[in-house]
């Protein structure tokens, strides 16, 4: 399974970069999301994957003893998912506003920081 995940991570990175290189702003955001997911999967895999052993202490025990999934990468990814949601939602709305004002989605045409009055 690790090998499949490795392929998927590579694919996520490749597609994320490809989308980031497009001139359309919407594609840029999609690229960011793909890249973010790729990074999450990378962290997840590098913490080693374990099936069916969540890091939850048994109700009778006081600590985790046998083999369990690593909680540290999970905590990291959880934070990352939430933060990237903040970023994505802000970016989506920003693009919407920018499009309203500039009437273009082309990054190359956004070469001024001032509003264009007609």
């Amino acid at each position: 399974m690790e090998l499949i995940l490795v392929v998927i991570i590579g694919l996520l990175y490749a597609s994320g970069i490809y989308m980031m290189l497009r001139r359309s702003m919407v594609k840029l955001i999609i690229g960011l999301i793909l890249l973010g997911n790729g990074a999450n999967m990378l962290i997840f895999l590098l913490g080693r994957i374990v099936k069916g052993k969540p890091p939850i202490i048994d109700s009778t025990a006081k600590m985790l003893t046998e083999i369990y999934a690593d909680p540290v990468p999970q905590a990291l990814i959880l934070t990352a998912i939430v933060i990237s949601f903040g970023l994505q939602s802000f970016a989506i709305i920003l693009v919407k506003r920018a499009y309203k004002i500039t009437q273009t989605d082309d990054l190359d045409e956004l070469n001024t920081t001032d509003e264009i009055y007609e």
Partner: protein, 768 residues
């Protein structure tokens, strides 16, 4: 000692706060600082005359061997006295010269900063500190030269001076670092003991070359001389200070200082003789053709600097002695002439020698000072200049096979310099007084006393050379020549060849003065050669350099996000690929891998299909929907591999993102391809390469053993310390509680941003 050097910087830092005071009567108090320093250094004179030297050490960056090490010996004290002595007079002179000037406070700030930098430069024993002070003089002189900053010519000259001396400074730094690296120390006195080793090292040529460029740019040697005449745009006190005793002498100081360390080789001597003699003859001839008093003085200064470089290049005991004396001679008469030029300009409003005449009738003390300085410059007995000139001829005559050529060059230079001195120091004061100058009156004594003092010293030292012989000349000589014979300077040598040459120089100079009348037509003829002048070439180079910089910046800082991304990733990919190509131990232990089940394969396939759809779909809706599918498959993977919290979070966040996208999707632009097919293929190739590299790296890391220390700590303490059974949750809300709180804050800010962007209405632009 450090206080003495830094006091100038302190004063410079204070000037903005006492500007009202300076612009009022306060300026008369400012010369106290340089005068105090002069007295301070003067107090060392006796011990130094007896052959002592002083060392002061203050740590700065000891780990790099850089400290404030100051070494006070003959050479240093000569310059320190010149800097503070001439400084005192210039400070005094300025009180009248720039009286009531709007930026007087600034002027004094720059001036004292410059003085302090110069002091640091000549006293530093550490060659890196020396370089820092060297650069500080370049910077503060930039402000001084460009002081009349509303004049574009003045600004241009300042920039030119800074770029030439700054450029030289870079080379100097390289030379110093190389020298320190080879010599194993940045302390000059320690390097001195390594002298023979350094001279025989293969990099010796580099060191000398780099230091030469530094010294030549600073001391205005051909072909870097052209910034100096331009620097005459500065107010006259600045010209006096920079060009008689300080700034341009820094290069000379450097060469003199390094003579015992690096000198004596063929490279050293030949280069210096060649550059020095070209400069002195070239500039001397130029000075004859000028009609602006400052222009004349500028070229005669370059020529004098050429003489000094030439003398240091000869490298014999006699020539180094001559150099030591000539530094003092030149400082005394050149400062006087500059100060007088300032008075003439201040009173009459012109510096054109073809117009000025007969001023002695109205400006008598000034005329006396000018006459004394011109005579000292001419090398007439019994002036100090006579001694200086004699020593030069003695040095050239004793120089083996080339004695003849070198002496002729020296005579030609001296004749022209004599002529230039007469032109600037005598011509404006003799003859009949034009009617429009009759109403002139003598300026404030603070202006005419300083030149009189300097010119008077030129006469006194000439009459009584024993005053300076033991106290200054001998220590200066022993700083340059180790274990040299005791020196002796005197006015009268008896009838010999040297005296004959001196008389010849005098006669020729006076004859030249009688025959050649300065005129603007002669001057304009020289302008025809501007085309091939080093200055023009340098300016062309400057333009080319600017254009290249613009092109280069445009290439890399072009403002397109994708170009930055491509550059960064391309570079990274090439670097990593090269590393992988060099050989990487890629070993996968199949036994360690988790077993594969059919539902996992299906999920993975779904994910791949979703990614492909996201990237290649032509419809926004399909792309967003596939993005959602991809998110859910990730969610499933989390679920399979023991991360229920992640699965829940991913599920809700993914849902929210898709909803948000769909909500605004009709307000989003159409999904278009802006780029051409070729560009897409290029990006595709780059992305695939990068993705593959990441995949390979991941495999690499997977084969490495994992350090589980942190997670074991959390697993063991989650319940015992924090009373929670879900370890991931405990980490987030307890162990890393602050992080989570800040994260929530970030989310709140993002939410406020989203909300306000949605609610914001810009008048007239959009009507939803």
């Amino acid at each position: 000692m450090i206080l003495a050097i830094l006091s100038g910087f302190v004063l410079a830092g204070c000037t903005p706060f006492i500007s009202k005071f300076i612009k009022g009567k306060g300026s008369l108090l400012l010369p106290i600082l340089p005068f105090g320093l002069f007295v301070y250094f003067f107090s060392f004179l006796k011990e130094i005359g007896e052959g002592q030297t002083f060392r002061f050490n203050y740590d700065w960056v000891p780990s790099y061997g850089i400290n404030f090490g100051f070494h006070l010996d003959g050479l240093a004290i000569l310059f320190a006295l010149l800097i503070t002595g001439v400084g005192t007079l210039v400070f005094t002179y300025t009180t009248s010269y720039l009286k009531g000037h709007h930026y007087l406070d600034r002027f004094y700030g720059y001036l004292s900063m410059f003085m302090a930098s110069m002091l640091g430069l000549v006293l530093s024993d550490n060659i890196i500190t020396l370089f820092i002070f060297w650069e500080l003089t370049s910077i503060s002189s930039f402000f001084l030269i460009g002081f009349n900053n509303d004049d574009p010519k003045s600004r241009k000259s300042a920039l030119l001076a800074l770029s030439i001396t700054g450029l030289g400074g870079l080379f100097l730094l390289a030379g110093m670092v190389l020298l320190g690296y080879i010599g194993g120390s940045y302390q000059f006195q320690e390097l001195l003991s390594q002298s023979t080793f350094i001279k025989e090292h293969t990099s010796y040529g580099w060191i000398v070359g780099l230091i030469f460029i530094g010294a030549f740019t600073k001391s205005a040697q051909f072909p870097f001389h052209f910034w100096l005449p331009g620097a005459m745009k500065a107010p006259t006190p600045v010209s006096t200070y920079l060009h008689s005793a300080t700034m341009v002498k820094a290069g000379i100081y450097l060469l003199a200082r390094f003579t015992p360390l690096l000198g004596g080789s063929a490279e050293w001597n030949t280069t210096l003789i060649l550059v020095g003699s070209i400069t002195m003859v070239y500039a001397a001839i130029h000075s004859v053709l000028r009609i602006d008093m400052k222009g004349i003085l500028a070229y005669s200064t370059i020529s004098a600097l050429g003489i000094l470089v030439f003398l240091i290049g000869l490298g014999t005991e006699a020539s180094l002695l001559a150099a030591g004396v000539f530094i003092l001679v030149h400082a005394l008469y050149k400062a006087t002439l500059f100060l007088i030029t300032g008075i003439v300009d201040h009173e009459t409003g012109t510096r054109d020698v073809t117009v000025l005449s007969g001023l002695s009738k109205v400006l008598m003390p000034v005329a006396i000072a000018a006459g004394l300085a011109a005579l000292s410059n001419a090398g007439a007995p019994p002036f100090f200049g006579f001694i200086g000139k004699d020593l030069i001829y003695e040095a050239t005559l004793a120089y083996g096979d080339w004695a003849m050529v070198l002496t002729i060059a020296a005579v030609v230079t001296n004749v022209c310099l004599l002529f230039a001195g007469l032109l600037a120091g005598v011509k404006p004061f003799v003859g009949s007084l034009p009617s429009n100058f009759t109403s002139l009156h003598l300026p404030h004594p603070t202006m005419w006393i300083p030149p009189l003092i300097l010119a008077g010293l030129g006469l006194v030292f000439g009459l009584f050379p024993s005053l300076v012989e033991g106290l200054i000349v001998q220590p200066v000589f022993s700083s340059m020549v180790i274990d040299g014979a005791p020196v002796h300077i005197k006015l009268w040598h008896g009838f010999n060849l040297v005296l004959g040459l001196s008389l010849l120089t005098l006669t020729l100079g006076v004859i030249l003065y009688m025959i050649v009348k300065p005129s603007s037509s002669l001057f304009s003829k020289t302008l025809k050669f501007e085309m091939i002048a080093p200055q023009t070439l340098f300016e062309i180079f400057g333009k080319f350099f600017n254009a290249f910089a613009r092109f280069w910046t445009g290439l890399f800082q072009n403002g397109y996000l994708r170009n930055y991304v491509i550059t960064i990733l391309g570079f990274l990919t090439i670097l990593l690929a090269y590393r992988l190509y060099q050989g990487v131990n890629l070993y996968i232990d199949t036994k360690q891998l988790t077993a594969l089940t059919i539902y996992e394969v299906i999920v993975a396939l779904m994910m791949i299909v979703a990614i492909v759809f996201t990237v290649f779909s032509r419809s926004r809706l399909v792309a967003v929907a596939s993005l959602g599918v991809m998110g859910y498959t990730i969610c499933l993977i989390f679920l399979f591999y023991s991360a229920p919290d992640l699965a829940m979070t991913q599920f809700s966040i993914d849902t929210l993102t898709v909803i948000l996208f769909v909500l605004v999707i009709y307000n989003l632009p159409k999904y278009k391809n802006f780029s051409s097919k070729a560009v897409r293929i290029r990006d595709g190739i780059l992305s695939v390469f990068f993705g593959s590299l990441i995949a390979i790296l991941t495999l690499e890391v997977l084969s490495e053993p994992l350090n589980r220390e942190t997670s074991i700590f959390y697993a063991e303490s989650a319940y015992l310390l924090a009373k929670g059974k879900n370890v991931v949750n405990v980490i987030l809300v307890d162990f890393r509680g602050f992080d989570t709180m800040v994260e929530i804050t970030v989310l709140v800010i993002a939410a406020i941003g989203v909300f306000s962007l949605l609610k914001l209405r810009l008048k007239s632009i959009e009507k939803e």
